[in-house]
Structure formats: structure tokens, C-alpha cells
Symmetry: C2
């Protein structure tokens, strides 16, 4: 039976890939509308291809270099890490390097394919919007789902595949050891995610700022005007950040969570084995099976993405989200019941073990729902925070900025509270299950937090589909505008675009919560791994990470500082990269005088390529800081200090990202709130577009752009990178 | 000999008070210039008195209530805390409450007297500025020094007095126990500091914003125009934040550092006693003697505050600062040599114990110098950061804000680095001294960090004098303007005002660094105190603060969140409080039509009083959050979690304060940089006052105001409040 469970993992992965292919074919075979639309779509596609080529060839080279560096370090520095197996030295280096490469390739593949489909789904969405809102929602959601399913499926198949290969290659002991060998996969994924998100985030905002500055300010032509050579770079940028960037981000979350949970599961495997519980190995691949059922739930939920023409499109998306969540609860119930079988009662209250862990999974799912709604409260126009910012805009840009900053700071309150409650509740539930290790420690609590993380991430594919829905509808709106589409096209795409803004924001909330839970898991895994290495060297194990230790305290200080400095570098990079696009767009206007009277076509791809290259150059400083700092701290201050760095880096990174994302989202929507005519002065006159209040809100929106689209999302990735990087290099830090 | 050392403490304190009185008499006896100046000065004085009356009567009531609450909690909750002495229960409650009250009163007294002198020193400074720059510098510096000396002297006399009383009251054992009884003093000081800084910070910016909005924007009259009823509130505000607020802040630093170091010293006292070292009790009052020599050094240094008329006034101040630092090194050498005598070599390299600790003190003094210069680099107009912000202003307010945010984030880098290096170096040096406790632990390292903190704080009185120099010269400028003073008055006060901006900024850097070092000390003291209580209850002691423990991790999360939320509340409070002053100034313009043609005098005091009351109301939410959060976490999650909260709260609070203070300072100076005509466009035309770049820079300056004058400084206080509060209530958290 447990072998059925084992094979369900690849079956789910492959089913999700097939479903994604079916969705992609469905979207691509739809009506593409009039030639004008297709022309615009073609131009965006051309730009997107230029971006993908430049971006991923660079990241690919970095990944190959990374593979060799990782393999070499592990091969030659650590020759005794895994004490109980014959795997060490060069062999371990090769295995880790291989896993790193697979992780990197899978992450890149998910990004490239997902983005390729999403930049093709925009035209069918625009075409559908001419006649039907529901059709347009479905096309955009299906286009987005390709990316969502691929991310989760490739992450699942990758971890499972490496696990299956390694487990076949080595003897029985490797059941407990194999998860440690897969950590390279998570690091590979993180490595790619860092550059995909950083480079993408810098690109998207540089293109935005650069195109606006030359077009709107200098030349006085409208936004999205086809004469602006930078406008395609801007439209491509929408896909870059939210589709490719967030995809890499959540790929990393799922991979890291899988690996962290498997490492913790392998501790329980040893307990289960010696206690003679049925199918002990199930504790190790339990997280993968949970993910598999999450995929099934999401596939089924797509049937519920339907509604009436006159409905708020957010309701249609929410219907599918709730279906995913409820089906996931059912899936979690089945998997817990079948796999987490100890044969006898272990813990308190005579309640079976699986029940406690099932409840942990439910905690995770509830957390996910909570984050989706909390983010809506803070960033959507219908509630107090955004209204406050809009009101503050009446007295100018300064008060707008101050109000947005205060709102952004405030949002950390619920974030910390929900994460704290989720961790403590799931720890308590798991603790009750009573999984007692040989040394008398109850490891159920930590595993409970792992199960909560799994529960939370079951809905990842759906959330990512909603996220990519954002850039697709955003593009569809641009295409409708560009091609002067008939009918209700622009009206419907505007509605969808507003919904897309919300879904993009809530995905960030989801990504933050998952990052903090995953990092807590990986932190526990890090301790396990360090202790394996310490035992192998006959050193006393690390029982605690003691903040009262001066080196841990200093490392924690450095971790918090790293978050601030990394954010500064990311924000600064946008301005620097924007310089390149400004020069190029100006040059085209100057040297191609036919552009202004429509007789010459601007060279859109060249702008995309130049912006991409510039963004890639600008991502070097923050990228280097993110990778070098933890390694340097580890080498200088030791393994316990790194643990402090990891935890405090996670905490501060998560809260800073919350601040940056939510203040940015709230500023954006405060501007939209004013544009929609919801703000009035004391005499009741509407202060809309063109008012001073609107100008002030535009300042806030511009400030928020690099916050919410560059620095904030890059911090999600940083948090997980810290965790996977330290996990891989743990042996380096032991002196 | 050690009794000479003991009596040197009150002698230094009293000498400093006498010197402060002499300085005050000197300043107040100087030429007050023409009647017009004295009139303006009188108006400010009247406003300041209205502020002091309202502010300190409220804080006084809070302090009395606080005394009873603290005494009651300690009396009835904890009946067995101090195991080795007969002091517990009601007696302990009374002693703690008494110490709390003395701390609160001393802090308030320092604030009230310091501010009273500084609002009287502005007129003589303006008068002196008519003829001589050096005279004006000396008057302003001496006026500021009254506050500086009183703060340090009252803190020193308070701690010493309570120690002397308690030590006389109880038997010999109390040498080791008395420091624990003084913790109430630190909490009392923190309690007052929180409200003085929060209320003052909110007041000063609300007055600034409110006065500008009605006067400049609505009525179109210039800044500092006497017809604006809010203008005096604004001038009073300068003194409130930088003199009274920062005074309370550093009073708290010195008190907390004294107590923390004495608690650590009392551990060494026990070692010294059993090892038979000479005068073991010297280890306990060593920190107080160091502070005493710091006062002597500062008094002597005032002789060096002199220079040439054509000199940069910053040089004159720096001359005194360097004199203080060098004399402090000498003082540290003498005190270490005489008091830290173990009779034999204890540690490594055959180097006497006192040498290691003397070097720790030097590390602290160097850290202090480093912070003074780092802050200048980031916030003064002559270097890259401020120039970058000014450049970014060319493309509008949004890029100005983005650049300032990036600079502010960046400044955390050196802050963390310098604090990290100082801690690790002083820990290492102290560790070499080799002070081995009964249980085999080397306690020299932690004491080394304590000595570094002492070294750093030796220059406090001088730094505070430079800080208060800021509002005095700022006021002098306003008075010169108001009274249309003849001669070079306005020119000289402008120069001094620019220097004052720098000194205000560097004091914040100094306060941050001292806050983080003091908090690290108090954290160690907290562990000591909890362990005393645990031992008394026959419970296992807390050996580590384990971040891998889920409740510690969650507490750390809450601590980081507390910093964000507290900042949000402080920032938001400014806007809310400004509402009150706006209404009142508008009312006066409306109901007193003679104001506009100078036939009626606005009721300045009423505006001050209304603003003060409003600020006091607005400080309730952040104040409550700051006090309730650590207590709630302690009661719910326990004593180890509180330790995590304390450490991570310190780290994040210090870095967030660094960001807020420095971005605010940099924005302010970017505006000044543009106003001074240093910015040009591509064609070389100067972009000065009235340009779009200047308008953008004004937005940044306005955003920075509540950052640097309300939220940032309040965070310094929060960090220390967390430390003293948890230290006092430690027994509450043990279940």
C-alpha cells in the first residue's frame, strides 16, 4: 500500500503536466481576434522571447558555474559528513551538484514555459473579452494555470525523481539519508529563483519607469503608445515579475518545504522503524504525497471556475480557490489517515496520531486562507487602509508617503500574529501526537509545523494561476487599447485588471507566509544536518541556538542588516537599470524620426534586450551580498551563528517584505481609488484624475513600484536562499 | 583606597552639578541684546513653560501610578526572588518602587531643568551672534552643557545614592544583591523616557506640520512669521525633541548601562571575594567610577571649546569632543589600573587583568568616535549619500523618496558592522582576562562588553551638550529673524544652525549605539536575574536562549513586528496630533481678525498647550503597545521567550531607528544642499529654492520629519524600555 502511495507522486506530477498541456492547447487554439490584436500580441511575444533568451542564458551559465562550485566545495571540504553511509567526498559532491543542476533546470523550465504560455494567453483573453467576461476569465485563468501546474509538478517530480534514483542507487539506510542528498535541489532552485526574481523585478520596474519617463514626460505621448520603443518592454515586464518571478519564488517554496519536511520525516522514519510501525518509509515521502493530492484537488477545482456574466470576476476566482481548499482538506484527511499509521496510540487523549497531524494540515490551509483575505484588507480599495492613504493625498505627496509607510508598517502586525499562531498551534498539535525519539525528545511538534506548511502549500498551483492571471489580463488590457478593440473589450479587461491587482498582491502574502514556514522547517533541518556532521566528527552536538552567545547575537544583527542592505541594493538597482532604457528610447526617437508620425516602427526587441542586460548587471550587487554574507558569517563565526543568522534573517526578511509589498500595493490602489472617483473634498467635489490629490497619489504609486515589485518579492527569495544555502554548506561552518 | 574610589562617585556628580550651575549662571548673565530679541525670547519661554507644565504634570502622574503598580506587582507576585537575602515580598516591592520613583523623578528633573536653561540660552546666543561667532558657539555650547551635565550627574547620583542607601540598610551580602534592587531605577528612567520622547517627538513634529500648513499654505505668510499662532509652538518644539527627548533617552542609557554593568560586576564580586582579590567590591561600583571620570574629563574639555572667528564652527565643537575622548582614555586607564586589581595574573599572555579591560574601554570610546563620523558621512551634505538624494530630486518627489529610502536602508550596514565588531572585540579582550566563575564559566567576556559600553558612554555629557547646541542655535536663528537683528547675527546663526543639524544627527547615532550595547548588557543581566529566581524555586536554570525553540522563535517574530507597529503608531500619531493645532490656529485667525494686521497678538501659549495635550493623547497607543507586548509575551510564552523578544527587538529596533533617523537626516540635508545652490541641471544652471527639484526635496524633508524626530528616537527608548521592563518583571514570567 505504501508503494501505491509512493507511485501516486509521479502520477500526480505527470497528470498535472498533462493537464497543463491540455490547458495550454485550449488557450492557444482559441479565437485570437482581429489582425490588429494579433499584431500587438506578436510584438509582445517578440519582446518576451528577447527577454527569455537573454535572461535565462545568463542564469543558465550562472547555474552551471554554481553546480561546479557546489560540487567542488562539497567534494573537497566535506569528507565525512554523512556518517552512517559510504557516501562522502567526491561522490557526495557529485550527488549534491547533480541535485543542484536538476533543481536549477526544473526551476528555469517552469519559468520559461509558464511565461511563454502567459504571453500567448493575452491575445485570446483580449479577444474573448470582446464578447464575454466569463470566457475571458477562463482563458486568463487557464493560461495562468499552465505556469501554476508546471511549477508545482516540476518541483514535485524533481524531488521525487532524485529521491527515487538515490534510493535505488544505495542501500536501505539511504531511506533516512536520501533527503539530505536532495538539499542541492532546493539550493539549485533557490539560486535560480534569486536571479529570476531579482533580475526580473529590476527589469520590470526599470522598463516601467524608463518607458514612462521618456514617453509621457519628455515626449508627451500617452502611456502604452506604440510609438514609444519602451512600451513593449513594459508590457513584457508585467509577465516577468509576476509570472516568471513569482513562479520561481513558489517553486523554491515547494521544493524547500518538501526537502525540509522529508529531512524531519527521516528522523521519524528511524523511530518508526525501531518501533515496528507499519510502512515506516511513508513518513519520509508523506510530504510529497500531500503535494500530489494538492495537485489533484487543484485540477478538480478548475471545474468550479465559472460564473455569471454580471458577477464580480473575483467571485469566480474565489469559487475555484475555495474548491481547491476544501478538496485539499479532504486530500489531507485521506493521506494522513492512510500514511501516518503508528499501529497504536502514541500521544495524548487516546486520539490516533494521524488525527493530530491532519489537524496540523488544516491549520496550514486556514493560514493560507487567512493570508489571502488579510492582504485584500490591507491593499484593496474597499477598506480603511487604502482609503486613509487616499485621504492623505489631499494634503500632498508627503502625507501620502507618510500614510502609506504607516499602513505598510502596520500590516506586519497580522502577518506576525498569524504566522505565530500557526506555528504554535501546529507545534502543539504535533506535540500531542507524541513521536518520541531515542534520546527522549518529542519530535512530533516540529513535524507538526512541517505538516502545516504542507497544508498551506497544497493550494500553490491555484494561487499561482490566480497570480499569473494578473499579467495576462494586464496585457490583454494593453492589447485591447493598442488595437482599438471593439465591443466591451476594454471595459471587461479593466475589470479583470483590477482583480488581477488583488490576486497579485495576495499571492505575495501567500508567498511570504510560505517562506516563513518553509524557513522554520529548513532551520530545523539545518540543526539536524549539523548534528549529523558533528557526530561524524565526534564533536558534541548543537542542542540549542543560543542568542545569549555573543557570536550568535552578532550574526543575528548581521542578518537583520542584510535584509535592509539587500532591499537598498534592489531598490537602487531599479533606478540604475532605468538609465539604460532611457538612453535607448531617446536614441530611437532621435535617430528614427519616422517614429513620431508612425512611418517607422521602433525597435522594441532591442529595448527589451538592453533593459534585460542592464537589469542582469544590476542584480549582481544584491545577489553577491545575499550569497556571500551567510557563507562569510558561517566561516568566521561558526555553525551556531549561522543558525541565528538564518532565523533572524527570516523574521526580519518576512516582515520587511510584508511592509514593502503591502505599502506598494496600498499606494497603487489608493491611486486607483482616486482615479475611480471615490475621493471628494470638503465641499463634495470629486477629486479625480488630474487633481492635486491624484498627482500626490501618483508619487506614492511610483515609490511603491520598486518596493512591491522588486525589493519585496526578492526578499521572499532571499529568505529561502539563506535556508537552502546554509543547509548545503553546513559542513563548511564546522571547525 | 577603594573607599576613596567609592566617594569619588558623588564628588564627581556634585562637581558636575556645580559646574552646570556655573554654566547656567554664566549664560543667563550674558547680554540679552535689544528689547525686540528679549520679547521674542520671552514668548518662546512662555510657550516652553506651558509645554513643561502640561507635559511633565501628565508624565508625573503616570510615574506615580507606575510606582504603585510596580511596587504592587513585585510585592505580591514575587515572594522569593532573591534567594540569599531576607529581602522579598512587600519589602522588595517597596524597594523596587522607591527606586522606580527616584529614577523617574531624576529623569524628569534633568529634562525640566535642561530645557528651562536651553530655552533661556537662545536669546544670549542670538545676542552674541551679532558680534562674534566664537562667543555665540560658547554660549550655545554652555547652555547645552547644562542639560548634558545634569543628565549624567543625576543618573550617576541616583544610582549611587540608592546603592549606598541599600548597602547601608542591609548586611554584607547585599553587595552582590544591591544592584538587583536598583533595577527599578532604570525602569523608572525608561518609563519617563518613553513618554518624554514619544510625547515630545509627536509634539515637535505636529507643531511643525500644523504651523506650516495653516501659515504658509493656507494664509500665505512666511515661515516663522509672528502672526502665526503656531509658530511659537514650533520653536518650543525644537527644544522638546532634541533637548528634553534626547536627554531622557541618554539618561536612560547611562542608568541602564550602570545597572547592567553592576549586576555583571556583582558576579565578579563573588569570584573576587572567594579568590581573595584586593577590594572585591570595586568590581561592582567600577562602572560608576568610570562614569565619574568621564564627567571630570568632560568638565576639563570645556576649556578647549574655543577657536578663531573665521573657523568652521564644527571644528570648535570637535576640538572639545576630541579633548573629552582623549581625557576619557586617560581616565579609563587610571580607573582600570587602580580598581581592577586581581593581585595575580588571571588570563592569557601574562598580561594583567586591568589591561584587558582598559582595552575594552578604549574599544567603546573608539566606537563612539566611529558613530559620530559615520553619521556625518551619511547625513551631511558633503558626501555621496546626500548628493545622490539631491540629484534624484531632479526627477521629482518619487525618486527623491526612493533614493532617501535606499540611503536610509544602507546606513544599517556600518551600524551593524561597528556594533558587531565592538561587541566581538570587547568580548574577546575580556575573555582573555580570564575571570572564571565557580561553575567554570569565563565571565570576563561579558564584562568586557560592559566595560566597552562604559567607555562609550564616558563622553555622554559632551555629546548631549552638542545635541542641545542644535535647538539653541535653531531658536537663536528664529529670534534673529523675528527681531530683525542687526549685524552678522542671522549669518552666524545660519552657520551654527547647519552645524546644529549635524550634531543632532550624530547624537542619534551615538544614542543608537549606546542603546544596543546597553541592551546587550541588560540581556545578560536578565539571564542572571532569571537564574537567581529559578534557583530560588529549585528549578533548572536557563543556560541558553534557544532560537530553535518554537516559543522563542515566535517571540522573536513578535519583537520584530513590535518595532514596525510601534513605528507605524508613532508616525501616525504626528498626523493626528497636527489636526488639533491646525484647528486652533485657524480658529485664532478667524476669531481674532486683528492678527493679520499686527493689531492683535495671537495666543501662543494656548496653541502650545493644545498641541501638548493632543500629543500626550496620541502617545497612548504606541506607549501601551510598548509596555503591554513584552509583559503579555512573558506571561503567555515564558521567560526564555522574553529573552528572545528582548534580543531580536533590540536588533530590529536599532536598525529600524538607524534607517528612520538617517533617511530623515539625509532628506533634510538634501533640501539644504539644494537651497545652498549646490545642485545644477545638465546645462549648468543652478537649481535652487523655487525649482522643481527643491519642491521634490521639500517632500522628502517632510516625510523625513516624523521619521527622524518621532519614530526613530522613540525606538531608542523602546529598546531600553524592553530591557529594563523585562528585568524588573522577570519573576512574573516564571511559571
Amino acid at each position: 500500500m505504501s508503494s501505491i502511495a509512493f507511485w501516486i507522486i509521479p502520477i500526480a506530477g505527470i497528470a498535472a503536466v498533462i493537464f497543463a498541456i491540455w490547458l495550454a492547447r485550449d488557450v492557444l487554439s482559441r479565437d485570437k481576434g482581429p489582425q490588429a490584436m494579433q499584431d500587438v500580441g506578436g510584438t509582445i511575444l517578440e519582446g518576451a522571447n528577447a527577454f527569455i533568451k537573454r535572461q535565462y542564458s545568463t542564469i543558465g551559465i550562472l547555474a552551471v558555474v554554481g553546480t561546479f562550485v557546489v560540487a567542488a566545495i562539497i567534494a573537497f571540504v566535506d569528507t565525512e559528513e554523512v556518517a552512517e553511509t559510504p557516501i562522502y567526498g567526491v561522490e557526495l559532491g557529485l550527488l549534491t551538484g547533480f541535485a543542484f543542476l536538476v533543481g536549477a533546470i526544473a526551476s528555469m523550465a517552469a519559468g520559461i514555459i509558464g511565461m511563454s504560455v502567459s504571453v500567448r494567453a493575452n491575445v485570446p483573453t483580449a479577444a474573448a473579452a470582446r464578447t464575454s467576461l466569463v470566457d475571458a476569465v477562463q482563458v486568463a485563468m487557464r493560461g495562468g494555470a499552465v505556469s501554476g501546474f508546471l511549477v508545482v509538478a516540476l518541483s514535485l517530480l524533481g524531488v521525487w525523481g532524485i529521491f527515487a534514483v538515490y534510493e535505488t542507487l544505495f542501500d536501505d539506510v539511504s531511506y533516512a539519508v536520501a533527503p539530505f542528498l536532495i538539499v542541492g535541489f532546493g539550493f539549485g532552485a533557490s539560486f535560480v529563483a534569486l536571479f529570476a526574481q531579482l533580475g526580473g523585478g529590476i527589469y520590470t520596474k526599470a522598463a516601467d519607469v524608463g518607458a514612462d519617463l521618456v514617453g509621457k514626460v519628455e515626449k508627451g505621448i500617452p502611456e502604452d503608445d506604440p510609438r514609444n520603443a519602451g512600451v513593449v518592454a513594459d508590457l513584457v515586464g508585467d509577465n516577468v515579475g509576476d509570472c516568471a518571478g513569482r513562479g520561481a519564488d513558489l517553486f523554491e517554496s515547494t521544493a524547500a518545504e518538501n526537502i525540509g519536511a522529508m529531512i524531519l520525516g527521516s528522523a521519524i522514519f528511524l523511530i518508526a522503524q525501531s518501533a515496528g510501525w507499519p510502512h515506516p518509509e511513508a513518513w519520509i515521502f508523506f510530504p510529497l504525497v500531500v503535494r500530489a493530492f494538492g495537485l489533484f484537488a487543484t485540477i478538480a477545482a478548475f471545474w468550479f471556475v465559472r460564473g455569471r456574466e454580471d458577477e464580480d470576476p473575483m467571485n469566480i476566482l474565489n469559487r475555484g480557490y475555495w474548491a481547491t481548499t476544501i478538496l485539499s482538506v479532504v486530500g489531507m484527511l485521506i493521506v494522513s489517515l492512510v500514511l501516518l499509521d503508528t499501529g497504536t496510540f502514541q500521544g495524548n487523549y487516546d486520539i490516533p496520531t494521524w488525527v493530530w497531524f491532519f489537524l496540523c494540515g488544516v491549520v496550514g490551509l486556514v493560514t493560507s486562507v487567512a493570508f489571502v483575505y488579510i492582504t485584500q484588507y490591507y491593499t484593496a480599495g474597499s477598506w480603511r487602509p487604502v482609503k486613509d492613504i487616499a485621504e492623505a493625498s489631499k494634503t500632498g505627496p508627503a502625507t501620502n508617503i507618510i500614510a502609506g509607510t504607516a499602513v505598510g508598517f502596520e500590516t506586519t502586525f497580522v502577518t506576525a500574529l498569524v504566522i505565530g499562531v500557526a506555528l504554535i498551534t501546529s507545534f502543539w498539535l504535533g506535540d500531542q501526537a507524541g513521536i518520541i525519539a531515542e534520546d527522549g525528545r518529542n519530535v512530533g511538534g516540529v513535524f507538526g509545523t512541517a505538516v502545516a506548511t504542507m497544508g498551506m502549500l497544497m493550494t500553490t498551483a491555484y494561487v499561482l494561476a490566480m497570480d499569473t492571471f494578473g499579467p495576462i489580463t494586464d496585457n490583454a488590457g494593453g492589447i485591447a487599447e493598442f488595437s482599438k478593440a471593439e465591443g466591451s473589450a476594454r471595459e471587461i479587461t479593466d475589470k479583470l485588471d483590477a482583480v488581477g491587482n488583488t490576486t497579485k498582491a495576495l499571492t505575495k502574502g501567500f508567498a511570504i507566509a510560505s517562506a516563513s514556514l518553509a524557513a522554520f522547517l529548513l532551520f530545523q533541518a539545518y540543526i539536524d544536518k549539523v548534528n549529523v556532521a558533528l557526530l561524524a566528527r565526534d564533536l558534541p552536538i548543537m542542542e540549542t541556538v543560543n542568542l545569549a552567545n555573543v557570536s550568535v547575537f552578532v550574526a543575528a544583527f548581521i542578518a537583520a542588516m542584510l535584509v535592509f542592505v539587500f532591499s537598498a541594493l534592489a531598490i537602487r538597482a531599479v533606478g540604475n537599470a532605468a538609465g539604460a532604457i532611457i538612453v535607448e528610447v531617446r536614441r530611437q526617437f532621435r535617430e528614427m524620426p519616422g517614429i513620431m508620425d508612425y512611418t517607422q516602427r521602433p525597435d522594441y526587441s532591442r529595448v527589451v534586450d538592453i533593459t534585460t542586460r542592464s537589469a542582469l548587471r544590476q542584480m549582481i550587487p544584491p545577489g553577491v551580498v545575499a550569497i556571500v554574507t551567510p557563507v562569510a558569517v558561517g566561516i568566521i563565526l561558526g555553525y551556531e551563528a549561522v543558525a541565528g543568522l538564518l532565523m533572524v534573517g527570516t523574521i526580519v526578511g518576512v516582515l520587511m517584505a510584508t511592509y514593502l509589498n503591502n505599502s506598494g500595493g496600498a499606494w497603487d490602489n489608493a491611486k486607483k481609488y482616486i482615479e475611480a472617483g471615490n475621493l471628494s473634498d470638503d465641499q463634495g467635489n470629486v477629486l479625480g484624475k488630474g487633481s492635486e490629490a491624484h498627482a500626490a497619489a501618483v508619487v506614492g504609486d511610483t515609490v511603491g513600484d520598486p518596493f512591491k515589485d522588486t525589493a519585496g518579492p526578492s526578499l521572499h527569495v532571499l529568505v529561502k536562499l539563506l535556508a537552502t544555502l546554509t543547509l548545503v554548506f553546513a559542513p563548511l561552518f564546522i571547525r
